[in-house]
Each structure stands twice: as C-alpha cells, then as structure tokens.
Amino acid sequence: MKIEDLEKKFQDRIDAGEKIEPKDWMPEKYRKTHIRQISQHAHSEIVGMLPEGNWVTRTPTLRRKVGLLAKVQDEAGHGLYLYSAAETLGISRDEMFRQLHTGKAKYSSIFNYPTMTWADIGTIGWLVDGAAIINQVMLTRTSFGPYARAMVRICKEESFHQRQGFEMILTLCNGTAIQKEMAQDALNRWWWPSLMMFGPRDEESPNTEQSVKWKIKRKTNDELRQQFIDITVEQAKVAGLTIPDPDLKWNEERGHHDFGAIDWSEFWRVVKGNGPLNKERLKARNDAWDNGEWVRDAAMAHSEKQAQKEELKKAV
C-alpha cells in the first residue's frame, strides 16, 4: 500500500473514533509527537516531586505529612505509567532519562518555580494539579490507546491531590491574618505561571492543528486555559482570596471570564532554561540517577546470582 493510502486509512480510523494501538501502522510524525508528548509528561511527573519533596519533612501536622507523602508517591507512579506508555512506541526508558538529564527533553515549566512557604504546597495542589487535571481529563479521550489508559488511571488518583491542596488553603484562610496573607501571597506568585501551564496561545502554537486532527488533543490551549480560569475563580471566592488580575471579570456575552495579558516573555524565558530553578531541578535529577547507579548494578548482580543458584539447584 502506498504511504498516502496508509495515511488516509489511518485518518479514517481516527475520524471514526477508533483507538490506535502500539503495533498498528501510524505516520512517523504521529509516533514522534507521542514519544515527545508522553515522555515530557512523564518527566513532569518525576520533576514535579521535587518542589513538594522540599516540604515533606516540614509539614505542620502528621495528617498533612501522610497526605503529602502519598501525593508525591502518586507522582512517581504517574511518571512510571507514562514512561511505560511511551516505551510501547519503541523508545527505551534509559533513552528518555538521557534526554531529560541532558536537557534535550522538556518538562512542565511550572516546576522551575520555588516552593518558599507552606502555602505554596497547598497552592500547587489547588492550581497546578487543578490545571493538570483539566488537561488530563481531555487526554483520557486521546487517540493513542496506552496514553489514554494511563490517563484514566492518573485522573482517578489526581482528584485527591487537588482536594488536599485546596483543603490546606482553606485551613490557612480560616486561620490567623498572617496565615491568610501567606495563602494570598502564594496565589499571587503561582497564578500566572499556572495559566502558562496550558502552553502558548493558539495562534502561537503551530502543532495544535495537527494534534487536534489526530485527536492527540481534543481541545486547544486557549480553550483549556479559559476552562481553568472559569472554574478557579469560583474556588478563590470560596477561599476568600483575590486573584491577582485587575482585568479579570465576567463577560456575560461570551459566558466566560475575561482576563489580563499573560507575560509570554516570562514563559519563554523559563522554557528556555532561565527560570528560577531550572538548573537545580536538572542537577537533582542527574544526581539521583548517578548516585543510584551502584544500586541498579547491585540489583542486577543479585538477580543474576539468584538465577545462577537456581540453575545449579536444577543441575544437582
């Protein structure tokens, strides 16, 4: 079959709502786009453990500690589901790690911001996980089977992340004036970077059209961002916090909130490696990998030894 015919057949399957499985024929660009997107999503989960791990030893109560530990452990699990999904497309786990460690692969820029106060941990759960959920709920219907299945699993677990974060924020808002101020300060710092999580505006996002056609994405960056803003405005009201955007207001005609201009120069600065913590994050991942080498080697050696023992037993 000619490549055009194969591509036509492939698009017909997508249009008919069929899922694509790893061994099916697919255009090379579909494969590459998925490897890039799924591995970057996995890297985000793994790097995403760092800002929160920063506070595990300093939680105010035991209740918060078990919650935060469980959340960080989930992020590790989510990274593993996603790496597995990407591996079905023919890239090895080690190659993905190499791409992360050398800076070739990106991860979500939001994790290059520091967690300076305890309120930042609540705000991450509320806003960052909230934004991630909006994106991930859409991805449960993505056209590539293993990615969609990983997303279903992740979405089931993610809702607890957002709720524990928002509960933390509510607790601070119902506390002393200083505690409430802390929550407001965290919102002020995380609001705009959270909006940037959805990626560049549609007209600046050249891949969106193809991604929508292949049903990799079911909604555009701007649609998802708008959805997030509309939902979050209501949540901020419940907490009694002010969203740091003087232009934010309900637009009756559109049925959505209008919002102020996003500073895209900041977005690109952080994406290109010059955010507050890009270098520290990458160093932490590289150190973990390098310092874990002897453990991986020992595990492998142990298993080989056990297998040899088994062989000997059988031979006797």
Binding site: K23, W25, A299
Partner: protein, 95 residues
C-alpha cells in the same frame, strides 16, 4: 554492567475474587521478585487488587495487526454461531 536496562514486565491484576486478572501496565525489574514488589507499589496503592501476575514481556507472543484479516475475518460471516440466527415461534416463552 552499568547502563544495562532492567527487563520489562507486564502486570496483570485481579481486582477481586471471581473476576479475571486484567492487564494494567508494565514496569522494569531485575527479576520476578522485584517485579512483584514494584507491581504492588505502582499498581495497587489503593486496594486495586487481591492477586498479581507478572510476566516478562519478552515471553509474550502477540498477534500482528497486519494479520488482522486472516485471523479475525473468517468469524464475520458465521452468523450461525449466534443464537439469534435460529428462528423460533413467538409463542415459545423460554429458550
């Protein structure tokens, strides 16, 4: 020794007795014992299962999607394998 990737294992979980084991995903481990421990941590953090199978991926033989036709199409024109193919009188209440 270094840079040697751990083998891939497929994980199957029985969510409760009475149901079959179902494929849930994969993971890397040096041997079956580690695969079992990792499967517990990665796939059953919220009581998702009562039983786990792990199988090294290289031991699975999978059908090729290119053979879809020859494998599965022959079943398409065999409607006589289904109960609805057979016509029975309406008066017959149970069968």
């Amino acid at each position: 020794m270094s840079n040697q990737e751990f083998p891939i294992w497929e994980v199957f979980i029985r969510s409760k007795n009475g149901l079959e084991h179902r494929h849930v995903g994969s993971l890397h481990a040096t041997d079956a014992t580690m695969a079992m421990e990792n499967a517990r941590d990665v796939y059953t953090r919220r009581e998702e299962g009562v039983s786990i199978w792990v199988v090294e991926s290289k031991n699975i033989t999978a059908s090729n999607p290119e053979n879809q036709g020859e494998l599965f199409e022959p079943a398409k024109d065999k409607a006589y394998r289904h109960p609805t193919f057979y016509e029975l009188p309406i008066e017959l209440k149970h069968m």
